[in-house]
Amino acid sequence: MSPGTAPGRPPESGAGACRACIAHSLLLASLGGVLDRCSGDRGRFLDLLALEGEALIAAIGGRRSQELHRQLRDMLSGELPVAADARSLCRHDPRYPAALHEPNAPRMLYLTCGPARLQLLTTAPVVAIAGAGRCSDYGAEVSRSLARGLAAAGVTVAAGLGDRLSRAAHEGVLEAQGASIAVATCGSDRAFSARSRVLLAGVRLRGCVLSELPRDYPSRRWTVQAAHRVLGELAGVLVVVEAQESPRDLALCGVARARGRTVAAVPGRVTSPLSAGSHRLLLDGASLVRGPGDVLELLSAASGSDAGAGCDRAGPGAAGRALPPDRLDRRLRSVLEAVGAGDGTPEEVSRGGVSAGQALLALSELELLGMVVRGAGGRYLPRL
């Protein structure tokens, strides 16, 4: 028998979640198709998620209402198909993250670690890094270096898991030996693509993968938006690294704004469609982020003077860098400047009067110094 208890009553310590909350998460799972259809209307969809079991069935149950009512009753009184375990918690649990106490917050969180670790991670300031589903090498590099710097300063970085930008953020955290929170769009046990499996193992080792859905639930259209709302509420500051100017990419910012979170954005080139969304956010009053330092400033501004306690502010921008640029000799500095200005291919570097052989040598030296990285297509990018 599961350790589930009567609805509404907080569970005993260490014993996971209450029966009503588990039943609710299972109800959501069985309503997947309807929720997918409803998720087109973003504003109403989040209100929908705030509904309690019976009201939810009444709202969208349709022809299956009867059957769903019966299912819900069975789950509340009889055997639960999913046993609550020590790695899940419901919102009645005292260890449930305080930031998520909103009406439409998930009732259940399924984790890959004990709730104590999540509690620890969420007592530190949380910064979410998000952006476009598709990003450039620049976006991935910025995301990685931001995450690295923030993790080194003791901030908990939260991000999705499905897209490259989020993965870059987790990679950055792991580079700094930090712990991150990954908000999954499917059940937390369902391994993501082969690409992210290794990364996921790293995240699980020190951080946490969380999902509001039962462990083996697949990713669906509606779960993407549901994960956005978790991410947007969990974090004190949301940093958008690269986003297109589309409702899809900016939906997350809407959630964070509505909850009074600070939204910040990393600028790109004005000609880049992948940065158009970030620029729109900046125009609308989002804070500008150039590096981890700017985010730390925002954190302390966002939650009073004592916020950011436990944050190590020592030179986050210099993390992982061997030499500051002003210590470089002139030859390397001019090449670094060219790369920073977007002239990242050897061909473009040597257009500035450097011979072809010298350009290749300088780029390799800078790469060995960790100041540039070679992206796809042989284009070098500056590391932040």
């Binding site: 589903g133 450039s136 090498d137 693509s193 940065s275 061909e347 040597s350 290749l360 390799s364 060995l368």
Partner: protein
């Protein structure tokens, strides 16, 4: 009466000696050929009978048995016609038998007694010389080809009558004057036509100098194919031994041989090619593209579109420089040592990693997966090409073919003198231990590679490849030792980490 004649049957690239024995004795008139003859050889009966009669000789109304020894070697093709006819004439005393002892015969007979080419003359002539025969009787066009083999008396015979005259000690027919030897022609695409793209041109020169396999990566329309087509023009001309080998391969492939090939082969199979198409199929079948590219260049455009099996089939030639084919009842080894040029888009749209890239993540992952794998482990350097833009169209060419060829030849000479005591003479073919012996790197250069490996930029194999390319760059720069700038350039040209 019994008579013997020397002949050859072609098996793979090699001609094998066949002794044609003809026995004529009283009995029910008939003509039987034994000794694993294929359909073309069995049909020789009709050709030989008509040719003998139409040449004014007498065809005996007796029992004729022809044996092709060794009996367990399958014989193919019509090239044995002439030997059969001459042995029959000798067995019936219509020609003297002495010439048959010292001459090999090759040719297909027409019904009127005309002698045709009948197979790869070059391979047969080479085998005849090795077999210690003094001469070879072939058709006049074939006499040209056979004449490329030194130390063999080649006699042309345009008809069965002329062949009989040669075997009786007479002179052969005149060999028709052929077109001039095929030369590195004026029509060959030249490097000076490539404007801009200096880094890709430079990578090509490095690849040519060290026989490195190279990948050209870039969006469509940046001139990847244009560049690859110019690779043969910067390679040194074939040496005589290489030329004989290449000519032999191509004469087997059915090309008309008018002289030794001096141009390096350039083969560019379409990406729908099968594994058998690349390495060659069954007996007597068409030679594979990889074999035809021997001593030259194999260009695989859109490498990510090639079938996995076709790419896998290239592993052996890339590692060993030869192809061993084993089919149900047939095995052969072909030489196949070539420089591989692979061309690809970095991603389906061509702008991978940039702001203009419109590929989804799964598309990028699929492309990466297709580009990784066993073949690409053999790629030493990658040249990333970008759209030249408006500036590129007026950019001066980096080098001319003649100049680049000189540089390549000089670099190859340096390698050859350094590697004089190794079986390989080019950096691209060196294994790890041979490379370590002949690297001669400055301490700082070695440290640079070590540093890169520690920083996670290079795998062990990747470090080895970077060293190999750096050695070639140093050779191009006429430097005894590998310097930091050589390693720096090699690092910037290294394949992606996914390929390392």
């Amino acid at each position: 009466m019994l008579a013997r004649a020397h002949a050859f049957t072609v098996d793979g690239l090699h001609a094998r000696h066949v002794m044609v024995e003809v026995d004529v004795r009283p009995g029910l008139p008939g003509f039987a050929i034994v000794g694993l003859a294929d359909a073309a050889v069995r049909e020789a009966r009709e050709r030989v009978r008509a040719a003998i009669l139409n040449s004014g000789f007498e065809f005996p109304a007796r029992r004729i048995t022809a044996n092709l020894a060794p009996a367990d070697l399958p014989k193919a093709g019509p090239g044995l016609d002439l030997a059969l006819a001459c042995a029959l004439l000798a067995a019936t005393g219509q020609i003297a038998g002495e010439g048959l002892q010292s001459h090999a015969l090759l040719g297909e007979l027409g019904l009127d007694g005309a002698v045709r080419r009948g197979g790869s003359t070059l391979a047969v002539a080479d085998a005849a010389r090795r077999a210690g025969l003094r001469g070879l009787v072939v058709s006049p066009p074939g006499a040209h080809e056979a004449g490329l083999i030194e130390g063999l008396h080649v006699a042309a015979a345009s008809s069965l009558r002329s062949a009989a005259r040669v075997l009786n000690g007479g002179a052969g027919d005149p060999v028709p004057a052929s077109a001039a030897l095929e030369r590195t022609g004026t029509a060959e695409p030249a490097l000076e036509e490539v404007r801009g793209q200096h880094h890709a041109v430079r990578a090509l020169v490095i690849a040519a100098a060290g026989a490195h396999n190279v990948m050209l990566s870039g969006p469509p329309g940046t001139g990847k194919t244009m560049l690859a087509l110019r690779m043969p023009s910067i390679l040194p001309p074939l040496s005589t031994a290489e030329a004989v080998e290449v000519t032999r391969i191509h004469s087997l492939g059915g090309a008309r041989v008018v002289g030794l090939r001096s141009r390096r082969p350039f083969r560019a199979p379409h990406h729908t090619v099968t594994a058998a198409g690349l390495v060659g199929g069954a007996r007597g079948g068409v030679l594979g593209e990889a074999v035809l590219a021997h001593n030259g260049v194999l260009f695989l455009d859109e490498i990510s579109e090639f079938a996995r099996s076709a790419i896998q089939a290239l592993r052996q030639p890339l590692e060993e420089g030869r192809i061993a084919i084993a089919r149900a009842r047939y095995a052969a080894v072909y030489p196949a040592r070539f420089i591989l040029i692979a061309a690809t888009n970095p991603c389906p749209c061509g702008y991978a990693g940039g702001e203009r890239c419109t590929c989804s993540e799964s598309e990028l992952a699929r492309q990466r997966r297709r580009l990784s794998g066993p073949l690409l482990e053999r790629i030493d350097l990658v040249a990333h090409m970008r759209e030249p833009g408006t500036a590129g169209a007026d950019a001066p060419p980096l080098s001319s073919s003649a100049l680049a060829r000189e540089q390549v030849a000089a670099a190859r000479e340096r390698q050859a003198s350094r590697l004089a005591r190794e079986p390989e003479s080019l950096n691209g073919h060196l294994g790890p231990s041979a490379l370590a012996r002949h690297l001669l790197a400055e301490p700082r250069a070695e440290e640079m590679v070590r540093h890169a490996a520690e920083a996670g930029l290079l795998s062990a194999r990747g470090a080895h490849r970077v060293m190999r390319v750096a050695r070639t760059i140093a050779d191009l720069g006429a430097s005894e030792r590998v310097r930091t700038q050589d390693v720096g350039a090699a690092l910037a040209l290294r394949p992606e980490a996914a390929l390392a």
